[in-house]
Structure formats: structure tokens, C-alpha cells
């Protein structure tokens, strides 16, 4: 996939290799790099995987590996949760069943 100059893109930067992680980081965290993802407008045409420079919303120039062009957010509402679906009905029944409280 290609990005054209001016496209809204996401880049990826490895800030710290596992060997450079802070001493106080938990053991599992020390096994993986510290990564940064950031979006902006690409300064030049490029292909996914290439090193590129972007201009962010604040006007800063940041360089990293191009990982997505016009990336989707991807988060959603998930699936309805059966364990929650009946709660409203149960509570209404509870409030009605016992009549007026004393």
C-alpha cells in the first residue's frame, strides 16, 4: 500500500530496545521494546514499511516506519453481553413485585 504526500498516516518508532528498558519495569515488560505510534500528514510519497517523516497536528516533524494509511480506529461496542442483558428486567420485576415499600 502506498501513501501520497499529505495523506493522514500512522508511524511506528521503537524508543527503547528490551535491553534498554528501565530497571524498575516488571520482568514481562522488560522482554519487549517500548514502542510509539503517532499519526500525522506524511511529508512525501512512500510505501508501507518505509522510513518516513510526518507533520503532526501540532506541526512537529517526526520520523518512523510507515505502518498505516488513513488508519481506522477499530474500537467499537463489542458484542452484547448476555450476563448484562437481563438485569433491567430483573430489577424492574424486583421493584414491582414487592409493592410499595413500608
Amino acid at each position: 500500500m502506498k501513501a501520497r504526500q499529505g495523506d493522514w498516516v500512522q508511524i511506528h518508532i521503537i524508543l527503547l530496545k528490551p535491553s534498554e528498558r528501565a530497571e524498575r519495569a516488571p520482568e514481562d515488560t522488560k522482554l519487549v521494546p517500548l514502542e510509539l505510534r503517532v499519526k500525522g500528514f506524511i511529508n512525501h510519497d512512500a510505501k508501507i514499511g518505509e522510513q518516513v517523516t510526518i507533520t503532526t497536528h501540532t506541526g512537529r516533524q517526526l520520523s518512523g516506519k510507515l505502518i498505516a494509511v488513513n488508519p481506522a480506529y477499530g474500537h467499537d461496542f463489542g458484542q452484547p453481553v448476555p450476563e448484562l442483558l437481563t438485569i433491567g428486567r430483573e430489577l424492574r420485576a424486583l421493584l414491582e413485585d414487592e409493592g410499595e415499600s413500608s
Partner: protein
């Protein structure tokens, strides 16, 4: 070019902080461990009236205070005869970016503008990012948000991804990191490079911004019901919400009990890559609430203006399953779909109301917006994907990161008290840890520790004595 390596940045930490916050914290220090808290709040913050003016201009605050009639009725059904206080909620979701965090951001961003900063930076994965971005957009300042958003597999916590989206919607640059304590270095680097204002959650500006919330809820309730609240429940994480709300209530002359409430995430490590997506709550949880209570100065400023142990009368925890249940109940019984983290204090209030007389009032002091990523269905879908068991049952069987148990019946919802005396001891232990001669503390420092822990000199002296005796053995 400046040296941006870890050690170089950390060595210049104080210099960067001073320039980016504009407060000379050294001025308030009382060696070896105390500082003039009230002096700092008065001299560097804003008065209640100034904050009201700033917030009115920014469209922040003056949110509705609503009575939750059906949840009150439910509490009365579950309570012993004569018990079941009325439950009110402050609908903070009505703020411009959807949470009470707009109050904190409004003062910080105003201050940044007045002091001539070109932009603002903040390190937050929560609603505060959207709040700062929204206020910065209003004032035409640039904005950078530093988030902890993804695990090492690139899987984003949906609530944080949503907050990142909101920040970008307000025109902010969002730096999305994987997990780890080095976020702070990245944050310092950005401050150093840009010269922007550090819109920390923990400055006197941020805490002063919340005082209106406490003040408003007291004056609104007096106006609507002709009485003061008896208990105010506050969702607790970094301590700002408890501190600012309590200070505002006192400025309104109200001495109601302050109950802090957090979601219990005990056992999950906050900086662990593998635990990151096993949490269904990103804030108002014990992973922040406890460490910030016993060591407030672990924040991103030299002295934290949020000092929750000074203000809380009680600290309770709720399980994730209980909060999801109450979130559903709020939607189904009251017609209000609101974010789960803000409903932590509502879950606690439903229980506390059952301990209180019917003519009393408990106020839940915030709601937050909900939506894609934030909704219980988004969080529970991720939880299932992570192999976490979700079932109806007794919430006492809830295990953070392993099982989310949704109550079968509302009578199963309970609060679990955290022992405040033990937190106070831990606070004192942290405070004296670096001292050479803890037994020779000046009276001024003893008094400071007493104020910090809302105790007295006797408690502080006895605690120090017992801590040192244990150590010497």
C-alpha cells in the same frame, strides 16, 4: 542539540519541570520532609471565584444534580426498615468533553495561555486527555497527549483508543506508547523539546479546578432540597477528585463525609505488558488509588496538589462485576447511559445508602460519557477475548484479571473497606524512608505528617516509633 538520553533527561528533570509548570516548588519546602501545602495552593492556584469565571467562559461546570429515584427505591428495598438514603448524581458528562476532567483542564489551559505558552502537554490515558485537548482547542493552543495505549502485540485497550480518538478529534497530537514506566521520560522529552506547558493532573491549577464541583453540589442540593449532603462519594485514582471536591465542599461550609471509591484491581501490575489488557477499567482503580494515597508525590510534578489522605473519611473498593451491574442498572432504571469508571462511586453509593437513614442524602459527584470502547460491552468483549471468565454469581468470587462476576441479585453488592489507619502508617513509612534521623523530626514536620494523614501528633509519633522499632529488630 540537547542530550535526550534517559540519564540526561532525568538529570534535568527539575529544570524541565520548573520551566514547564512555572512554579518554583522549592519555595514551599520545609526540610527535611514537609512543605507548605496551603501556602502553595493559595499562592499558585486560583480562588474559587476566579475558577468559576474561567469555567463559565469555557462552558465548563454548572452540571445538573439529578435524583436517582429508582435506584433510591432499590436501596430502600434492600435496606433494613427506616434505612435507604436518597441518591443524587452530579451529571458531569454534561461538560464539553464529557467528564469532570474539563474542570481541571480549564484552569490549566487558561493558565498556560495567560503565561504565554504556545501549547500544552499532558501524560494521561484517561478522560483528562480529551479535556485538555478540548480546552486547548477553545483557546487556540497546541496540544500533545502522551498515552499508554497498546500492549506489545499492538492490541489497544478500547477505552484508551477511544480517548485517543477524542483527543485527535479536538486537534491534538497523540503519542501512543506501549506499557512501561519510561512514559515519564518520553513526556519530559516532549516538554523539553517543545517548551509547552505541563498540564499535569497534579498542579494547584488542576486541583483548584475541581473545587467548583464540590462547591456546586452543596449549593445546588441546598437550593433544590433545602438540605446538605450527608455523604459524598468520590471515585478515587490519583487523588485530585477527592482533594478538589472536599476542598470545594468545605469552602461551601459543608462537612459531609467524604467516601473515596475505587474498583478493585489488586494483583494486576500497572506497568506489566501482559496485565495491561486484563484490566477492564483504566481509571478509578486501586492500582492508582492506593499508591497515590500513600505516596502522593510520585506524580509528574515535584509536589502533588492532590493529597487524598487529608480528606477521605472512608475508602471503599468495588469489584469490576459490581460496577458493570450498576452501570446497566443506571441505564435501565434511570435512562442514563454513562461510563463505567464514573459509576464506581455510584455502585458504592447504592450500598452506603442502605446504611443511612431515609431522610439523609448521598451524592455521587460525577458521571462520565460512554461510547465505543468505553461501554461495558466493549470492555467485556475484550475481557472474554483475553480469556477472562465472565459469569453471573456472587461478586465476592471476582478475581481481577481472571474472573468478572456480575451479581445475580443487587443484595450481593457490597463495599469493601480499606483500612485507613494502615494506609496512614504506609504514608508515614514512605515519608520518613529517606531520613537519616527519623526520631529527631522537628515539631513542624510532625505536624505536617499529622495534617497529611488527618491524624494528630500523637499518632504520628507512635507510628514512627513502632516503624523504627520493627526496623531495629
Amino acid at each position: 542539540m540537547k542530550d535526550a538520553s534517559y540519564l540526561a533527561i532525568m538529570a534535568r528533570r527539575n529544570e524541565i519541570m520548573k520551566r514547564s509548570v512555572g512554579i518554583d516548588y522549592d519555595r514551599f519546602e520545609i526540610p527535611p520532609l514537609a512543605f507548605d501545602y496551603e501556602g502553595m495552593m493559595e499562592e499558585t492556584g486560583y480562588s474559587l471565584n476566579e475558577v468559576y469565571t474561567i469555567q463559565r467562559e469555557a462552558g465548563v461546570g454548572n452540571t445538573p444534580l439529578l435524583e436517582l429515584r429508582h435506584l433510591t427505591k432499590l436501596a430502600q428495598r434492600l435496606a433494613p426498615p427506616g434505612k435507604g438514603a436518597r441518591i443524587f448524581i452530579k451529571d458531569e458528562a454534561a461538560n464539553p468533553s464529557g467528564s469532570f476532567k474539563d474542570r481541571r483542564a480549564s484552569v490549566s489551559v487558561y493558565h498556560a495561555q495567560v503565561k504565554g505558552y504556545e501549547g500544552v502537554v499532558t501524560a494521561t490515558s484517561g478522560n483528562y486527555g480529551a479535556a485538555v485537548a478540548s480546552q486547548a482547542a477553545q483557546r487556540g493552543l497546541k496540544c500533545i497527549i502522551v498515552q499508554e495505549a497498546f500492549d506489545s502485540h499492538g492490541l489497544g485497550q478500547p477505552e484508551i483508543v477511544e480517548k485517543g480518538r477524542a483527543c485527535e478529534a479536538y486537534g491534538a497530537e497523540v503519542l501512543q506508547l506501549t506499557i512501561g514506566p519510561e512514559l515519564f521520560t518520553t513526556f519530559l522529552n516532549v516538554l523539553d523539546e517543545t517548551g509547552y506547558f505541563n498540564a499535569s493532573l497534579y498542579t494547584p491549577f488542576s486541583v483548584a479546578g475541581i473545587e467548583t464541583l464540590g462547591h456546586e453540589l452543596v449549593t445546588q442540593l441546598s437550593g433544590q432540597e433545602g438540605q446538605e449532603p450527608n455523604v459524598v462519594v468520590v471515585a478515587h485514582a490519583g487523588g485530585g477528585n477527592v482533594t478538589g471536591t472536599a476542598r470545594g465542599m468545605r469552602k461551601a461550609g459543608c462537612q459531609a463525609k467524604i467516601v473515596a471509591a475505587s474498583v478493585d484491581l489488586s494483583g494486576l501490575h500497572m506497568a506489566s505488558d501482559s496485565d495491561f489488557n486484563r484490566k477492564s477499567f483504566t481509571t478509578a482503580h486501586t492500582g492508582f488509588g492506593v499508591p497515590f494515597a500513600i505516596n502522593p508525590d510520585r506524580a509528574d510534578v515535584p509536589r502533588n496538589a492532590a493529597r487524598s489522605l487529608r480528606y477521605m473519611d472512608r475508602y471503599v473498593t468495588m469489584t469490576q462485576g459490581e460496577v458493570f451491574y450498576v452501570t446497566e442498572a443506571l441505564a435501565q432504571l434511570e435512562g442514563m447511559e454513562r461510563g463505567a469508571a464514573g459509576n464506581t462511586s455510584l455502585a458504592a453509593a447504592l450500598v452506603l445508602a442502605q446504611e443511612m437513614a431515609r431522610d439523609q442524602i448521598v451524592v455521587v459527584q460525577e458521571t462520565e460519557y460512554t461510547g465505543a470502547g468505553k461501554h461495558p460491552s466493549a470492555q467485556l468483549t475484550l475481557a472474554r477475548q483475553m480469556g477472562i471468565e465472565i459469569r453471573r454469581g456472587d461478586p465476592a468470587e471476582n478475581i481481577p484479571g481472571k474472573a468478572i462476576v456480575i451479581p445475580q441479585h443487587p443484595e450481593q453488592i457490597k463495599v469493601k473497606d480499606i483500612d485507613l489507619t494502615s494506609l496512614k502508617r504506609s504514608y508515614i513509612k514512605n515519608a520518613i524512608a529517606r531520613l537519616r534521623n527519623p526520631r529527631e523530626l522537628t515539631d513542624e514536620c510532625i505536624l505536617f505528617l499529622a495534617e497529611e494523614t488527618r491524624s494528630d501528633r500523637e499518632f504520628v509519633r507512635q507510628t514512627i516509633d513502632s516503624l523504627l522499632t520493627v526496623e531495629e529488630k
